[in-house]
Symmetry: D2
Subunit: 134 residues, 4 copies
């Protein structure tokens, strides 16, 4: 999706995690950050707005956490295992809580359905990184 | 690349700019934010680091500006023309200054070559949005 | 507020803009980013939520733009005048549009009153930087 | 420092954590995000740059994580304990790893000394939130 894998291949020290797993997670985080910002915004334009307050709040925090996770994972010049693990674990929680809430609205709002799917994919990609880290 | 176009299509009010142009710019910003973070990091691992100080600094600011631009452009529930224009113009300057510097190192560093290309594509996508806004 | 001024004083090349003006703007951006995130969140908990949709949307984008502006202004190792100018101009628009909207709700919502004041202070701090840049 | 405490006091639902502890952590995160961006930039201007590569890399990730933590903690309309805990734990790791590295350079670089102190204060503020969450 992004050029994450291509640029990782040019890094002198090489990634500390299997490059395909790492790049897949970075891309999933970028997609999830965007989808969550977009779902929060589309929710703000819905008439039954008050039912989407939890969805909007969790989307906003999921977006922020996914953005910082994609940036932290991209940095491979120095690698601190405990830091990488904690960052990705926080991202798992952000994606899971957001997906749980969006799924409750999937039948009524197409943006929630798409966003929930993107969050689940990101949660899985983060769990793949955690498995590769241990 | 991301699900930007798909979620924009579900927005009740519809985007204020042509959806394809908008989604292309959002995706280009996400890719550019990632490439710039990655190029700065790969540069930090190079032996001739002191020649890449400008590249690293401009990559970092380009990444930050591209991230905030992608988020601001994603929000279509309220649209303020002067705000959208100023944000995208700042992104054009960020991409241009970063591409100019990365191009100077393209022959020596593959990550700079890729990053410069991604920056130029984002600069163009931003200019396409500016053209669509007027 | 932050340690911006203190760390700027340790920079080998010194800031390209008068340090007090620069640090004041960085601090105003940090405060504004936080206030806008907080005002959007407090708005989501209000019963007359549907009247605050514009406020929430503009707060979110103002927060993002202020964060990237504080980061770009902090970087003084390389200074590109056109980039700094465009970034700060975008921040002026973000603060102005958010303050305009929050002021409309200042009498009903204390968080909007505070947020509007913080946005106006950041708008002024950005204009001070623009004056110092020319 | 910021208006975090003042705006939290206007929130209809009130914070889920003791307001003073929460606001202190939000402010510490904002200060730390700024100091880390500034220390990374000041390091890029140092002649013995190659000895500061770890410092720069860890500062950049600490800045990103502190920014997303300040935003996630600011949102009190919906509160998910597991999410808040994981986000703050990641911030503890980011601050600790950055402070450990900056302290190694504190005697040679004043920006590293200041940044290390700010990171330690943020680490402590995060631990105070974790204690308040349980």
């Amino acid at each position: 999706m992004s050029h994450a894998l291509e640029i990782l291949a040019t890094h002198r020290r090489g990634p500390q995690v299997e490059a395909n797993v790492l790049a897949a997670c970075i891309d999933a985080c970028l997609d999830c950050a965007q989808s969550c910002t977009a779902c929060a915004d589309a929710s703000l334009a819905e008439p039954e707005l008050e039912q989407l307050v939890a969805c909007i709040t969790l989307c906003l925090s999921c977006s922020d956490v996914c953005t910082s996770t994609s940036q932290a994972l991209t940095r491979q010049t120095v690698f601190v295992l405990k830091l990488a693990t904690a960052v990705v674990q926080a991202c798992v929680e952000a994606c899971r809580s957001c997906a749980d809430e969006c799924e409750r609205h999937s039948h009524h709002h197409e943006h929630c359905r798409i966003c929930a799917e993107v969050c689940r994919r990101c949660e899985q990609a983060c769990n793949d990184v955690l498995a590769a880290l241990t």
